[in-house]
Symmetry: C2
Subunit: 341 residues, 2 copies
DNA sequence: CTGAAAGCGCTTACAG
DNA sequence: CTGAAAGCGCTTACAG
């Protein structure tokens, strides 16, 4: 590959002048500029970013640590990051903890965890990334996982307990409220809830949103209408079976993810309940699968792409020393109405 | 961040010696080595890879161009790339064409295409990546998309018509043969096929594998048993309806992807056919969704992770000047037997 | 308007 | 065993 010296020699000017032309800096004569640009074109010269980075002490590179790339939320978030990065000429260095692959739903203890993250983190720092985006698998507290450093970090799809850390998430409370409220307004007043494991931030907030919607419509909270699953299809099926055998069975079930909602659908079929005539079903996450159920599942769409975009946007703001208004950002979800409600 | 000079000053040695210690090169006294290492530890010194890259003319960085990160095959392939990269201390620079997002299933013409790829490609070259992995959405011919360059490229989940280009794919022919043969051996001799769009390499090879399996069992090929869908759920449903209304209806249907197989399942339910008693169904791709159908879908698992791993492994071999035995590599798929067959 | 020179943080051939 | 110095490909303050 040609370098700036080659171009300078060919144009019979100094490297300084070539650099000035390339970066539209300093006064350069029109003649000289044209001559240089022509040669740059001909030689297909591409500036060496590595050299530039070293000199400028700025790599225009963002590091991404994703807990598990193959979990459904990750690609869409990174897609948002990529889009913004491309538009703003940032490069993305991707590292993958492969957490789910290694541990399934069992999270390792913090120390094992830190040990796993350390090498990725150091690799990124060695590469002089200007900032790091950490993408969680679940919305949970990842305090203390990343070592201290003065490289700015933005957390997304997770959070820390530190108020000064920046995180981008979606509003679980509001989404759950909206979904419940939507069902009620549709006339389904006996809305049951199948929760995910309650060690999750999301599950808690969604529960609260559900309660609030009931309250707002003066519907008495019925503890028999709340079941706890484990986020998996099977648990949705089992909990639905329980719910639908209640003497006064619910007219709608809100499941905290699309997998469990699938289980509900299966239960409804087995019990020959018409969906949505006799039972409305609402999911959460808008995973690809939700549109392939029969009937197609109504669900809550997560703003994953926007979370990615917002993460890198915010991170770059921090890098540039701009003021961030709020450290804990929550984006809104969207209700997707399909055939199950 | 501390640099090598800081360490040298603190240890009262030259930067050369620090460098030698850090890279286990040259004779260094045990005392000196220990002293330096201690200071390195204390200061949490991490060598600046950018500087090292510039000096060594080697970045230990691989560029990935993925046609669309949110299409199902991409994350798993990249997962394989990441795993190998981490083990071998390579960094991954990720770029995303967002092709499906922008165009859906309509591929743009080659020129539009090239225009989209160009900036990503140049960004990677500017960053001095040592090689590039190009990940397709579909197995198709992407000849002429990437500009000429002497940076080595490995194509995966796609190919070019150039024999000297390296590509990593899976064996469609064999997979389809195996699936068909499996059904026959299970006693389903009337095996129908729902193909995807026949402009696809995969569809063609899978068709051939299907025919070969019939032949090997001396089963007459029945043209009425082959239908062409468009890879989508709905088309699977419609084609299955056609097939199942044949006077002599097939006892098994092999669909060329899990989405269309889902449509087949839906058709079978509507016609009250017992699966797998009266009709066996076999899918392709082992997408997440396949294990959530009821009954769970038997399908062909694609070696995505291995394709990623093999891609980077091969690429690094090329970078290091090692001999590659074959340029067109095909990995084997695996039959996943579940409840639909 | 243009160029010579210093310097970013490393590595390495060479001298001592 | 250790260090001085050159150089990787850029940018930039400064001089002319």
């Amino acid at each position: 590959m040609a370098n700036i010296k080659d171009i300078a020699d060919l144009a019979k000017v100094s490297v300084a002048t070539v650099s000035n032309v390339l970066n539209n800096r300093g006064r350069v004569g029109e003649e000289t500029r044209k001559k240089i640009l022509k040669i740059v074109e001909e030689m297909e010269y591409k500036p060496n970013r590595v050299a530039k980075s070293l000199k400028m002490n700025k790599t225009h590179t963002i590091g991404v640590i994703v807990e598990d790339l193959s979990v459904f939320n990750a690609p869409e978030i990174i897609d948002g990051i990529n889009e913004f990065a491309e538009e703003n000429d940032y490069s993305i260095l991707l590292t993958n903890l492969r957490l789910f692959k290694k541990f399934g739903n069992q999270f390792p203890d913090v120390d094992t965890y830190k040990e796993m993250v350390m090498p990725l983190f150091h690799q990124l720092l060695s590469n002089q990334v200007e900032g790091i985006i950490y993408i969680g698998i679940h919305r949970r507290n990842v305090s203390g996982i990343l070592p201290e450093s003065n490289t700015p970090v933005v957390y997304t799809y997770c959070d820390t307990s530190n108020d000064t850390d920046i995180s981008i998430n979606y509003d679980d409370y509001k989404a759950s409220f909206d979904a419940t409220n939507y069902l009620i307004k549709k006339g389904y007043r006996e809305v049951a809830l199948i929760s995910g494991l309650i060690n999750s931030e999301s599950a808690l907030e969604r529960f609260n949103g559900y309660c609030k919607a009931l309250m707002d419509s003066s519907i008495q909270f019925n503890p028999n209408y709340v079941k706890t699953g484990d986020w998996e299809f099977e648990s949705g099926y089992m909990m639905a079976m329980d719910l639908l055998k209640e003497e006064k069975r619910p007219s709608a079930i809100l499941a905290m993810n699309d997998l469990m909602a699938g289980g509900v659908l299966k239960a409804a079929k087995e019990l020959n309940l018409d969906v949505p005539g006799e039972l409305a079903i609402f999911g959460f996450d808008n995973r690809e699968i939700s549109s392939y159920y029969t009937p197609k599942l109504s669900t809550v769409s997560l703003p994953l792409h926007d979370m990615g975009e917002r993460s890198i946007k915010t991170l770059i703001d921090v890098i540039n020393g701009n003021n961030i208004k709020t450290n804990k950002i929550k984006l809104l979800c969207e209700l997707i109405e399909r055939d199950s409600s």
